[in-house]
């Protein structure tokens, strides 16, 4: 018996086989050479370019675009990677509409920015396709650095440290390296196993050993790492997931959106993934949008995002919200979950409208119920499993300067560290800057 979009419950195979291929293909196809030239030609090569300032990794965008326009994407890629070694992934997943492209003078003038993200991807893909790694490792320093977490921050730090001649060991709790690049990004944003391909390319610098399946606190301890290495960088991300604090959230088919996204990324055949007919996603960020859009792409009939505050407070960009809407996702704002109803598994979920007041958010007496056979929680992640010895700031690891923690010889960056904005590109910048600081500090001692 074949399933359809109308089949009740949480079932796989709601769509014809071809639809899955189509839905999870590259969201935004790569530029070919001619398209890149035309797009590059639109760049005005601004002095002190706003795009460059808006980029958390400060890539010299006008220079790399000019290098593309003069037929040297290889040089463009070097310009990009010198600042952001994960420029390939960032070209795909950066919310450019909130960063470089938002401030492009042509966005301001005409509402049509230079397509910086796609041009960046064009440049980096051109070189990666040839298998060329344009950076060389400095002479070995004899120093070793432990990097915990093989996500964007850890990989960025590891590459920069290895380039400076240090020997780096990366430890990661998961089966594969990549962190959120591998487990946390919507499948259609980085298809064809791009995250792993980028890691393989990055490792060509040499001097980096990756140990997967090693969890901090379970398989390794910070004390051991500090003893065995000259420095430690923590890029452990946010392993915990915030709870809804709604009655009945323990019922079956109520799960964390990050797990759903990870499972989806790892599935080679998307048609075997079960999905509800009526899916409700609770949250207002990129994770909520990714979970909702992919639910729709898997064949859910109705998908609704419910966010407790007003629409302008959603951390998902307008572009992301429009993307969700274009896929048929409904967005309800100003409502918070009260109760999950159902016998064993969720059947429906009850919400109350919220009121924004001077003392924060309050629940109104006005309620409504949404039919739901699957609920995804996407209301944020939190730090979990961090060593007790580290001082915290709020709910993250306190850092000063370029990621220095309260412990000597221990740095932190990316989502686990205080002060960032939970973007891949920011994690890359923090990893890079911490690596430079580690390098300076190790060489000063030597």
């Amino acid at each position: 018996m074949t399933n359809s979009q109308l089949t009740p419950g949480v079932v796989p195979g709601r769509l014809p086989a071809a639809a899955y291929r189509d839905h999870f293909a590259d969201k935004e196809p790569a530029f070919d050479r001619h398209e890149a030239q035309v797009a590059a030609d639109r760049c005005y090569f601004c002095h002190d370019a706003p795009c460059m300032t808006a980029c958390p990794t400060s890539i010299d965008i006008p220079l790399f675009i000019r290098q593309i326009s003069t037929g040297t994407p290889e040089a463009a890629a070097v310009t990009i990677w010198s600042q952001n070694i994960l420029g390939g992934m960032c070209g795909r997943v950066c919310p450019t509409e909130q960063l470089c492209e938002e401030v492009c003078v042509r966005e301001v003038a005409e509402g049509k920015p230079v397509e910086i993200g796609r041009l960046q991807r064009y440049a980096t893909d051109s070189v990666m396709a040839k298998g060329v790694h344009p950076f060389a490792r400095a002479a070995r320093t004899g120093k070793t650095v432990a990097v915990v977490g093989a996500g964007p921050a850890g990989l960025s730090a590891a590459h920069r440290l290895a380039m400076h001649g240090h020997d780096v060991t990366i430890y990661d709790a998961r089966r594969k390296a990549g962190g959120l690049n591998e487990y946390g990004i919507a499948a259609y944003k980085a298809p064809n196993d791009f995250a792993q391909a980028e890691i393989d390319w990055l490792m060509k610098i040499g001097g980096i050993t990756v140990k997967t399946g090693k969890s901090l606190g379970r398989d390794i301890s910070l004390d051991e790492l500090r003893k065995a290495h000259d420095a430690v960088f923590l890029g452990i991300g946010l392993a915990g997931v915030n709870a809804l604090r709604a009655e009945g959230e323990e019922k079956a088919m109520v799960r964390d959106a990050v797990d759903f996204i990870a499972e989806l990324r790892q599935a080679a055949d998307k048609s075997v993934l079960p999905i509800g007919r009526d899916v409700v996603v609770i949250g207002g960020g990129m994770t909520a949008v990714d979970a909702a859009v992919q639910s729709k792409l898997l064949g859910a009939e109705n998908v609704t995002i419910v966010y407790r505050r007003t629409q302008d407070k959603m951390s998902a960009s307008d572009y992301e919200q429009n993307h969700a809407a274009s896929k048929g996702v409904r967005i309800i704002t100003g409502a918070a979950p009260l109760r999950v109803h159902g016998d064993g598994a969720v059947r429906e979920i009850e919400f109350a409208y919220t009121i924004e007041g001077p003392d924060g958010l309050a629940l109104s007496s006005e309620t409504f119920v949404l039919k739901a056979d699957q609920v995804f929680k996407a209301i944020g992640q939190s730090l979990e499993g961090q060593p007790d010895a580290l001082k915290l700031e709020g709910r993250k690891i306190a850092v000063t300067g370029a990621g220095r923690t309260s412990l000597p010889g221990v740095w932190a960056g990316g989502d686990c560290a205080a002060g960032g904005n939970d973007l891949t590109v920011t994690a890359v910048a923090e990893g890079r800057d911490a690596a430079e600081d580690i390098h300076a500090s190790l060489m000063a001692k030597a």
Partner: protein
């Protein structure tokens, strides 16, 4: 990365990209920033004699033409030589050179055409530690009316005379900057060589009016309703400059005379072409004035990448195209090509058809479904369709092999033969009986 270190007439610089004598090199502040951005050398904006400073206009000094998307294609200027006191310039040159000993710093000079004036200025610049002098015999506006600049460059005897004075009163390497505002560039270049010049640099700007204001009926740049000609530069003058550089590089009398190539160098590719055409280095102005000093970084990365891809050193590139720069009479008249349209690449815009049908040889047929095909019996291989086609490599010129039938002439393709032996040439060289 290829080694771009340049040695031009004994003047060393980390790369062959120098800023030309012009507004960007008028003062210490700019030149320091240029060196920080990566420029290999600078020719300081032209110094004049001691005395009251030069006076410039206070209205527009520049006019321009643009390509699509307002890309600056040509720039025209009516600015004169430096309008700052001589002693200020000399002090600044010395200070910059002291701090950037690895960069080339050449001083451009323009003083009245008498021996005393030249002797005096050469003495004054002596202790700046500059690497050389460039004689400005090129500027076509303002100073030429006063008997300087291109007024000297247009008279070979003056070029030779002044160059001789400079070599007599200075031990510095001497570059003679030539004006393109002549019927042939060869006599001025030969005169510079006779006078003992170590090198020539060219081209200076071309006499020009960029546009006419159609409301006030004045040429532009317009000063209070009037305009005078300016000097034209930028990408638009590159073809003129390449030809003049090539003419000097290939002529038996001037072959081997070092050339600093100037004229519209905007990207690494332009620079590589100037080098191949016989320039030992290049000088840039308009690209920097359009984009700022950082533009050199693309030139450096691009030239380096190109040399690496060709497995060539910088010196291997210099002059590489000169042997292939021949007279028309040496071209192979038996070389036959035909246009080929790649139907898969064609976007069916029809520009090739319009160009050929209206202005060339009616050699493209338009068929049902907007399919465009070349008529081999009409195609003279003029290349216009290639030039107007918006799709790169959609139309290419395919060479007919030896012995193949040229449907236009009805003759088979024969081996190399040029005009000098052609039967239609009354001056043809007859083969020995």
């Amino acid at each position: 990365m290829a080694d771009l270190t340049s040695n031009f007439i004994g003047i060393k610089s980390p790369n062959p990209f120098w800023l030309a004598s012009a507004p960007p090199t008028d003062k210490e502040y700019n030149v320091r920033r240029a060196f920080e951005a990566g420029w290999g050398g600078v020719v300081w904006k032209t110094l004049g004699s001691e005395g009251p400073p030069i006076v410039n206009v206070s209205g527009p000094r520049y006019g321009a033409i643009w390509g699509s998307d307002r890309r600056l294609m040509g720039l025209n200027n009516i600015e004169l030589i430096t309008d700052r006191p001589l002693e200020v310039n000399l002090r600044e040159i010395k200070s910059v050179k002291r701090d950037y000993p690895d960069r080339a710093l050449v001083i451009s000079l323009m003083v009245p055409c008498d021996e005393e004036s030249w002797k005096d200025i050469l003495k004054r610049i002596e202790d700046t530690e500059a690497d050389g002098v460039e004689l400005n015999f090129g500027c076509p506006h303002g100073m030429a009316e006063r008997g300087m600049g291109s007024a000297v460059g247009q008279v070979p005897e003056y070029i030779e005379m002044v160059t001789r004075w400079v070599k007599q009163y200075s031990r510095m390497p001497c570059i003679v900057k030539l004006t393109p505002n002549v019927t042939s560039i060869l006599p001025p270049a030969m005169a510079a060589k006779r006078g003992g010049a170590d090198a020539v640099s060219l081209i200076n700007t071309v006499k020009s009016i960029t546009n006419v204001d159609l409301d006030s009926f004045s040429p532009f740049p317009m000063i209070d309703g009037k305009g005078s000609h300016g000097g034209y530069c930028g990408p638009a003058v590159k073809p003129i400059a390449l030809n003049m550089v090539g003419e000097i590089a290939r002529h038996h009398e001037t072959h081997g005379l070092p050339i600093s190539g100037i004229g519209g160098v905007t990207t690494w590719r332009d620079a590589a072409e100037f080098l191949a055409m016989g320039s030992g280095n290049v000088q840039v102005c308009t690209a920097a004035m359009t984009y700022g000093f950082k533009v050199v970084q693309e030139m450096i990365s691009g030239l380096s990448q190109y040399l690496d891809s060709k497995d060539m050193a910088l010196d291997d590139l210099i002059g590489r195209a000169v042997p292939n720069f021949v007279e028309w009479q040496d071209l192979n008249l038996n070389y036959v090509t035909k246009a080929r349209i790649d139907q898969d690449a064609c976007i069916k815009c029809g520009r090739c058809y319009a160009a050929c049908e209206d202005t060339s040889h009616q050699a493209i047929a338009m068929k049902p479904g907007r399919v465009f095909e070349v008529k081999d019996d009409e195609c003279v291989a003029c290349n216009l369709c290639v030039n107007v086609c918006p799709v790169e490599n959609c139309i290419t010129m395919e060479k007919l092999p030896l012995g193949a039938l040229d449907e236009r002439t009805g003759r088979k393709v024969e081996p190399y033969a040029n005009w000098t032996t052609h039967p239609n040439n009354p001056m043809a060289v007859k083969a020995a009986e």
